[in-house]
């Protein structure tokens, strides 16, 4: 049972009620294991959230009911008499779309009774509005309920066609099943992985899929946090109110370009010098002549200073502090988020304060040498800091620098025994590591199934990785292979009390 995220709810309101629709405040999504999808799979509904859902429900319904023409068009007739067959038929259809499965006769009866109970004190139209409010606050609406059915061929529970339609649609488009998917579900065709594949291939090319998969990548890169970029304005006067957002958009545009426009090898992200720059970012890149908020495609010069995701200002600024860079955070991100490797936390009781610099100014790299010398720090920090040293030419906002405290920057380092110098070379190295493809495929598996993969699912994950490799790291292919995977079509056994 997975709670709809705020974008999913917004898209569902729009699909049910049409445009224009002013979208209401909703409970905030948060991240678990990096992903809003994983958090949504564990959340309950707190009192304050039930309150928000109620407010949101009336906020959207009232927009339709405020305009009788729009209301009647939605219902299919003027709802002046609840006994009218048109009203019942609308209620049944609306509820089925909202709940992503056919509403039962008993369910529609109950909703109609609710409308009839309210109608005498208000009127029939109001009665219907409140019945729809019961549909939109329902656990069947707020949560995606999918339990699966016993599968005659295996011991597992298999998601039925309606459940598959919703899983497919919310994963790929962050919205409810469209008419074609509903038709496929109605004919029980979505038990067949070939049919699932056909629909996935269709959906992955929609604009909604772009937005939804960008959201996955936003969580994968943790760049949602760039929206609240916190940098020292005295040290970095080029930081504007919109810089963080521009940094995030650049990275998202890069992803869109490689995945949806070039439809190419996902690993190009780590090496490409083609990117998108607006006025905010031009100030960081040191490019003249680009101003304003609109993004312009640019090819960065082949001077060894920039190339790929890991030299974007967004990645560099996010994994840094307010005033200074952070080799540890940058290295940690590469290790943990891009390579899916674990780094243990600092042991309890260890004083993590870096020794105060003595004997004149030192670079951060020199100060961090303490990490490599102290046996309590070294085992973990040697997994992170050397990667991060490669990025020391980029300051806390990701701008290039040749010196720190007038001392020359040393960006020579090594990744698991392979020497490199600087962020561009490191990007090239990382693009060649098999782990990088394994890692994003595994994270996508977790995102799609909304749980961390368990030991019993190893074969599914390995198979998905293989197929991603066979597709030459085509991310859209990864999405399609994911939804036909047994890991997506079958439920894990439910825990019993």
């Amino acid at each position: 049972m997975v709670r709809l995220t705020a974008p999913q709810l917004h898209n569902t309101y729009r699909a049910l009620l049409g445009e224009p629709l002013i979208l209401p405040d909703l409970p905030q999504d948060d991240q678990l294991y990096g992903f809003t999808s994983l958090s949504a799979a564990t959340k309950t509904v707190a009192p304050v959230e039930a309150e928000l859902y109620e407010d949101a429900t009336y906020a959207v319904l009232d927009q339709v009911w405020a305009d009788p023409t729009r209301r009647d068009a939605l219902v299919g007739c003027a709802p002046t008499d609840l006994a009218d067959a048109c009203v019942r038929s609308f209620l049944e259809d609306f509820t089925s779309r909202a709940w992503r499965r056919p509403a039962t006769t008993a369910e529609v009866d109950t909703l109609l009774q609710l409308a009839q109970q309210i109608a005498p004190t208000l009127d029939a139209s109001e009665g219907l509005r409140f019945a729809l409010a019961a549909v939109l606050q329902s656990p069947h609406f707020v949560f995606r309920v999918a339990t699966g059915q016993p599968d005659p061929d295996t011991d597992f529970l298999r998601f039925d066609s309606w459940e598959m339609a919703a899983r497919l649609s919310y994963l790929i488009t962050d919205g409810p099943p469209d008419a074609e998917l509903r038709a496929a579900a109605a004919s029980d065709a979505l038990l067949d992985p070939d049919v699932v594949r056909t629909h996935a291939q269709r959906l992955v090319d929609t604009p909604e899929a772009r937005a939804a998969l960008v959201r996955f990548f936003r969580d994968f890169m943790n760049i949602g946090r760039l929206d609240e970029l916190d940098k020292d304005l005295e040290l970095f006067p080029m930081v504007s109110d919109t810089l963080g957002l521009s940094m995030r958009r650049e990275i998202e545009r890069l992803f869109e370009n490689v995945v949806f426009e070039k439809e190419g090898d996902f690993r190009q992200l780590f090496t490409t010098r083609e990117t998108y720059v607006n006025g905010d970012l031009a100030a960081i890149y040191g490019i003249e002549g680009i101003e304003g908020t609109d993004f312009v495609p640019v090819t960065l010069p082949d001077d060894g200073k920039r190339g790929g995701l890991l030299t974007t200002p967004g990645f560099l600024a996010l994994n840094a502090h307010k005033t200074e860079s952070s080799p540890t955070h940058r290295g940690r991100f590469v290790r943990i988020s891009l390579l899916c490797q674990d780094v243990p936390p600092p042991p309890p009781g260890v004083d993590t304060t870096l020794p105060e610099p003595t004997g004149g100014p030192k670079t951060l790299r020199e100060r961090l040498a303490a990490h490599a010398e102290d046996p309590a720090c070294a085992p973990c920090h040697k997994q992170m800091d050397p990667i991060g040293f490669g990025f020391e030419h980029y300051d806390a906002v990701g701008a290039w620098r040749d010196t720190e405290h007038d001392l020359p920057i040393d960006a020579e380092s090594e990744l698991d025994g392979v020497a490199f110098e600087g962020g561009v070379e490191l990007g090239g190295l990382i693009a060649e590591l098999p782990r990088v493809g394994d890692c994003i495929a595994r994270r996508f598996y977790q995102h799609a199934t909304t749980h961390l993969d368990e030991r019993s699912e190893r074969a599914y994950v390995d198979d998905l990785v293989d197929r991603f490799v066979q597709s030459d790291f085509d991310f859209k292919a990864l999405v399609v292979e994911m939804v036909v995977s047994g890991g997506f079509r079958y439920a894990l056994p439910q825990e019993e009390e």
């Binding site: 959340k43 039930a50 309210i118 009781g349 993590t352 009390e497």
Partner: protein
């Protein structure tokens, strides 16, 4: 026969769905014609001649609060002299509370006794009296949530069965940083407890504007509309109840909370509208010059919470000044990087961290002052409060969890002495929570869970 109240040991189970408004609520509703205004004494008619209790002899309501700040303190500048009339050390962390010290008591020497992990265990121990629930080993740390309800929810549960208020509890947050990705322990303060690792929290409102809108924005008073909304919620409750048996244990648990939440809404619709005078909308506070407007936001949130308490919108609240392991930049104290990072990089004598703590306590002082300036009965609102003030570490740079810094504010309707410092070397940190809860009138002789369980509190603080 009313069953004796027991503190919830696990996540709350479903409560009765329909709660009729009580006589007291009804009387207050009658007074809603404008006679009661926020910030003025409760309507005289409802009080006895001494002004210290309701006319029917019941005591004035006590309130319980949890006020949390992240990352610990600098201990040698924190701990004041022991005994009555405590005095802080020179340049002490608690200096900002001196104007309110008649209302402020200090607990020291108390340790986290539950299994330790940086941040996670301290947070759960001070706020819930129990261990954190590890959900997973992940990345370079763990993901955890609170296994047991936080103390504000324990109090809310008690107050609810004693006398429902429009809101079961209220949650507000001040600084913006919402924690690293280590589970709800790092992101939220108020927890309902977790049976299977499910996320069961009460998120704090972060926007003063939205908090205002929620509490004082005004709802439709049309009884027919309210009745219709209640019917809708009743239908939703039926849907939840029908769905529950079809699901596994974990999802059933999550729906039990959903059912509780719907019941809360339904109950509020059945109760008379609270008689609060509407304050001005404080608006929101965007960053100025790259800095978070912490003091301004704290003032706005503190004002709203004090108003909400004054007109009894709730009796239990929590304010998260900063999160566990907070990365908020304490710039008013001269900090230039996030507090958590600063704790791990600032060399001894940790001056900026200490200044951050002093700033944080000045923000608490603002809230206490606001409560003190709100008359109630023949005293003030702070007289009726018991507020547990705590943080998840002793000192952030070592992640130590011995001798935890804890303060209890308010007089608890005469249950708490104020201005006492009790030191209990090696005592269990749950003792402070037990005393704070007793201070709010909860008839507890035991509090805490597993290794956090205690059967005595910090008795020097209690009358």
């Amino acid at each position: 026969m009313k069953k004796p109240w027991q503190p919830p040991r696990v996540a709350r189970q479903s409560r009765p769905r329909v709660v009729r408004p009580s006589r007291r609520m009804f009387l207050r509703g009658l007074a809603a014609g404008g006679a009661i205004t926020v910030g003025l004494p409760l309507f005289e008619m409802l009080l006895n001649d001494n002004g210290d209790a309701w006319a029917d002899g019941e005591e004035l309501p006590t309130r319980f609060g949890l006020w949390f700040f992240g990352n610990g303190v600098r201990l040698n500048s924190w701990t004041p002299t022991v005994g009555a009339d405590w005095q802080p050390p020179a340049d002490g962390g608690l200096a900002a509370l001196l104007p309110h010290k008649e209302y402020v008591s200090v607990c020291s020497g108390l340790d986290v006794k539950t299994p330790r992990h940086p941040h996670h265990s301290g947070m759960s121990a001070v706020c819930s009296g129990g261990p954190h629930l590890k959900v997973d080993d992940v990345r370079d740390t763990i993901v955890s949530t609170m296994k047991y309800p936080s103390v504000d929810q324990v109090a809310a549960d008690y107050f609810f069965q004693e006398q429902p208020t429009p809101y079961r509890s209220l949650e507000a947050a001040v600084t913006r940083f919402r924690g690293t990705d280590e589970g709800t322990t790092f992101q939220y303060l108020s927890h309902n407890g977790s049976v299977n690792g499910e996320t069961n929290i009460n998120p704090s409102e972060e926007s003063p504007h939205r908090f205002f809108d929620r509490l004082f924005g005004g709802e439709t008073a049309d009884p027919l509309i309210k009745q219709a909304r209640a019917s809708v919620l009743n239908a939703v409750s039926d849907q939840i109840a029908d769905l529950q048996p079809k699901l596994g244990a974990g999802d059933r648990q999550r729906l039990a909370q959903h059912l509780d939440s719907i019941a809360d809404l339904e109950r509020r619709l059945g109760a008379p509208s609270p008689s609060c005078t509407k304050p001005d909308d404080p608006g929101d506070f965007p960053d100025l010059g790259g800095n978070e407007q912490m003091a301004e936001k704290n003032a706005a949130m503190s004002d709203l919470m004090a108003l909400a308490l004054a007109c009894n919108l709730t009796r239990s609240f929590s304010i998260m000044f900063s999160t566990c392991g907070s990365g908020a930049v304490m710039w008013p104290a001269g900090a230039t990087n996030g507090q958590h990072y600063m704790n791990h990089t600032e060399p001894a004598p940790w001056t900026k961290q200490h200044d951050s703590v002093k700033f944080t306590m000045s923000q608490l002082a603002y809230f206490l002052d606001r409560l003190k300036q709100t008359p109630e009965g023949d005293g003030n609102l702070l007289d009726q409060c018991s507020i547990l003030v705590c943080t998840e570490h002793t000192e952030g740079w070592t992640h130590s969890q011995d001798d935890m810094p804890i303060v209890i504010c308010g007089k608890g309707g005469g249950r708490l002495k104020g201005n006492v410092h009790q030191r209990d070397d090696g005592g269990n940190v749950s003792k402070a929570a037990l005393t704070a809860l007793r201070g709010a009138g909860l008839p507890l002789t035991q509090f805490g869970h597993e290794a956090g369980s205690v059967t005595s509190g910090m008795t020097d603080l209690e009358v």
